[in-house]
Amino acid sequence: MENPNDKPAFLGRITASVTHDIQNVLAIIKETSGLMEDFFLMQKSGGLEDIEERLDKCIKTIKKQAYRGVNLTSGLNGFAHTADSSQAAINIFETLKRMIYIAERLFKQKGVDVSILECENHCSIITDPVFFQLIAFSCIECFIDNFETKAPITLEIQSSDNRMAIKFLYNDNMLTYEDYNQKIAQSPQWKKIINLCEQIRMTAEIAAEYPAILIFFK
């Protein structure tokens, strides 16, 4: 059964994280412009020789943060619009790449790097875009919350003639099948992933050869 709180809770969590990042961007811009003001005042009182160099550094910082802010707000805007419809065509690679980018702070908070491998074949599917991202996010969180080694997680889109899948690989070679299979299968996230997959005609499996979760499109 679909939990009516799943979607708003997920949207809220991502939004809170991104807006926190945006607050940081604004804080840096505010402090840097304040520092420029300080330099001007010092210059007026004749106490600053290398003002051009200092101002140049400040301008570069502000520009860099402005770009970061634009990327964050664009990412958040695109993410928010995925809630416009419960059935829409999405580009799997672009959707996952954006989700990873805007959720980066949440992953970093737990000390884990998440990335997606470049994909030449840009596959599209018609699905519930928010549910799809929630499943991907839950797969990542399943590793983060249940494994202490904090290994990097890599997403890979795999497609053949008749089947398409997403692999969530936990890059820890020391884990045995018994270790990861049991930990994943017994985690609360796994039950949630199975349940969410059923809602949008997908299936989830724990890989046999390496610590990974595979999500298949039916």
Binding site: A16, H20, N24, L26, A27, K30, E31, Q109, G111
Partner: protein, 142 residues
């Protein structure tokens, strides 16, 4: 003597810029980028005020605050938060933080809070010194 401030945030550009502004206002500032480094630094140096961001990877500001209070219970800790909700900041206050400020901060307000925190620290230090002197005088029968 300059007030010794430890500034802790994982946003490097934020604290490096803020550090420059505080130094221009005659404070001596040390910067670190993680809760772990903050604890190590607090153990090594006797700071007058510690400014700690709440949301940091792995060891959060709240966890770092707990450890710092064990090592240096009298060092005032100011918390910085980028969140609109104040639950974490309130938790920090309950754990002994001196005060909290929202990010982006008002620099003059931050300077004012640092001065208040430093005054409190100096008062504590004076009281401890006075008590130690009284104790020496008493035990030696002077």
């Amino acid at each position: 003597m300059k007030t010794k401030v430890l500034l802790v945030d994982d946003e490097e550009e934020f604290i490096e810029t803020l550090a420059q502004r505080l130094e221009l206002r005659d404070l001596s500032v040390t910067t670190v980028y993680s809760g772990e480094s903050a604890i190590a630094m607090a153990e090594k140096i006797d700071f007058d005020v510690i400014i700690l961001d709440i949301m940091m990877p792995e060891i959060t500001g709240i966890d770092a605050l707990k450890e710092i209070k064990k090592i240096k219970p009298l060092t005032p800790v100011l918390l910085l938060t980028g969140e609109a909700t104040v639950e974490n900041a309130i938790q920090g206050m309950k754990l002994g933080a001196f005060d909290f400020l929202m990010k982006p901060t008002d620099t003059e307000l931050l300077i004012e809070k640092i001065a208040q925190a430093n005054t409190l620290k100096q008062q504590h230090d004076d009281r401890i010194r006075q008590a130690e002197i009284e104790n020496i005088l008493k035990t030696r029968g002077w």
